[in-house]
Subunit: 455 residues, 2 copies
Amino acid sequence: MISLYDIGELKTILDERRVSSGDSVRRLHSHDESFHAPVLPDVVVWPHTTDEVSRIVRFACRHKVPVTAWGAGTSLEGNPIPVKNGIVIDFNEMNHIIEVRPEDFQVDVQAGVIYKELNKSLTGEGLFFPPDPGAAATIGGMIGNNASGIRSVRYGATRDYVMRMVVVLPNGDVIRTGNRARKCSSGYNLTALFVGSEGTLGIVTEATLKLVGLPVNYMAVRATFPAVFNATDAVYSIMRAGLTPSAMEFLDANVVHVLNHDRGLKLEENPTLLMEFHGFSNQGLMEEMNFVEEICRTNEALSIDCGIGAEERARLWEIRHQTYESIKRYHPGLAPLIMDVAVPISRYSEMVAFCRREVGDLTAYLFGHAGDGNIHVHVVDDPQDKKRWARVEESGNNIVMKALEFEGTCTGEHGIGIGKCRYMQTEHGESLALMKQLKKLLDPDNLFNPGKFFL
Amino acid sequence: MISLYDIGELKTILDERRVSSGDSVRRLHSHDESFHAPVLPDVVVWPHTTDEVSRIVRFACRHKVPVTAWGAGTSLEGNPIPVKNGIVIDFNEMNHIIEVRPEDFQVDVQAGVIYKELNKSLTGEGLFFPPDPGAAATIGGMIGNNASGIRSVRYGATRDYVMRMVVVLPNGDVIRTGNRARKCSSGYNLTALFVGSEGTLGIVTEATLKLVGLPVNYMAVRATFPAVFNATDAVYSIMRAGLTPSAMEFLDANVVHVLNHDRGLKLEENPTLLMEFHGFSNQGLMEEMNFVEEICRTNEALSIDCGIGAEERARLWEIRHQTYESIKRYHPGLAPLIMDVAVPISRYSEMVAFCRREVGDLTAYLFGHAGDGNIHVHVVDDPQDKKRWARVEESGNNIVMKALEFEGTCTGEHGIGIGKCRYMQTEHGESLALMKQLKKLLDPDNLFNPGKFFL
């Protein structure tokens, strides 16, 4: 591939320091955090401006070279792996917060900004950007995957927070979508089309994000249950009662076991729910807390720990942070296959039970954003052991097919990447043809993140 | 036009009763509630099924006849006026609630369902569909225009509630978009692309809507202020304080005057704010109410009336219902031009002041969804008086241009229709070319609601 175009020419667009085809750099950009096989790009570039991105893309277009955008490499479906080699555009140096507009509850950022850092810098303004996928993801990556995480049950996904974008199209043209008004009925919603398209239709270089006022007060509940279905039934009752949790996480006993081991905790190793509520008044949160406790008790909770205030929230939720990393440390040398199906919430208990049966004796951890019907089955094993890994993949396949049978989706928040291409036809049916037409319209030479989405 | 195809052939698709080219029927489908000039369709049809819609569209496609979808005809920008004649598809008889799934907070409906009737039928389940544009709109029409209304400050617009759709494409093909999971990162978001496209890309025949639990409790505040800027500044302070109003409406003194006259009320004729808050606990709402009162007082409120509970909410809000109809009754024989700009909320006070100056001595009413930065300037005059009407349109034009200068939009919720086509280039810039490409891809013969969106 590398011989078909002159990498040196890229150095006329960016200064030399920001163009690299060194082995270690290429290796760093050959894999994300999934088990998918690494593939080396030909070259990695670090633009500073939209104009530079546009010129890189025009160069790629001229030479018919694949282009893959790169955020933090924290995705879980092989989304940014440059499976057809070519140019990787790393947004690491395009990480400026352009303007905070607290008076409009908005911020303008470059695509390489890490959302956790963004939120740190917004605390002083009493504002935050709610989607919270956990890893050190960039805004560009979150837009690409329509990332969400623990707070989407109340606040929605990244899609709900992107007001405007600057997008470089596959021909190098630059467009601006959206506006700064909180509501809009003007024209086709291009913003929503690009969000979640994983860099296959365009590359987002800047975005205006909607912000939300930091909660005035917090309430949190941690409850354990004798069986998974008690926990998941409690989730349903809480949602149905008109309560509006800001986060509602399910952890199975295996996850709690790992957390005890990895962090030296002494939690009961039972199916566990972690819940968070945001509110204005102490008294109001107290009433909600009593009601949640009552629902948990009705669902045979073994233990309920709860409290009001930011400190209580931190205490009760501390265990949830870095669940992914704890599991990784607990199984050195093994790789994860992390399923990410989402189903209508009435099917959540059934779906969780199906997952547990399906993984059988594999080493599997179940946790998820229960309030959204999103379940992660985290299986660890050795991808080199072909027979065992085939069994891992078969269970993943069966779980996805069951989620689709329940009219859910093969991916709640991790995206299609490499791993989910094969479910696109089953999930989208006749719509897939239209998706392919859109791809062809925007990217006729299939240069933007090729090898993803479509088989 | 009518001679180019045989209307009789439509009677082989639908029974005779559901195909009409009678004058009165055509006249009823020639105008919406705007001032835009009526245009007669050739024929009106009332399908019962998606398959019938598909067959009608295939017929139209064969004969290159325009097709315009028709909901309740309550739009305000000429959105469904069949400006190129052809076939109007009236969804009035496709108005079945297919399935309520309370356990999933979802409902499946045909496009002709009236949202107010849907909400009535959902009350028993303790659920509702939040977008509330006021008129007797159909779900299909709301999807076409991405309608919203008074509750979007908390609950968002129609776009935020459409999970799945059945869409008939301009070639007659039927696709299904979306799924039943509350979160999804799978594939291009076709649902969001069709919502707000005003029947120019596809015709929605069925939809799955997300529902929300009815609020457990209500709190409402009605406050009057000496000047418009006091009211609009109060809006901003309330939003900034971390309170989450469910509705926040501004009415200027002229609107209150008309309401007093039309309903025999005795309200103070001053700039007025109507606010609604939803919550779980009485005590919590009481604390919020005290805080809102304090903010209103700081902004020099002349009067504050407030209360907790559904009855108090109804009492305080009663005046807001049918504002549009009251103004209409107050000026018999005159027509309205209703502007619908939205701006970033920091610009709201300035925008409202600009609108007031701009309309000068025209008969104008200002009201709007203040929490969203959406302002309606409702001017009444005689469209036959060319000179006066030119002055009305000029003020409308200046107001839109100012909103765009403020990085807002020419339409917050009424859509592009006929009236806003000319702002598409200014508002969307280079993005407009891509919108045109999408239209061309899906509707190469420009048969779906032609004469809208693009000049």
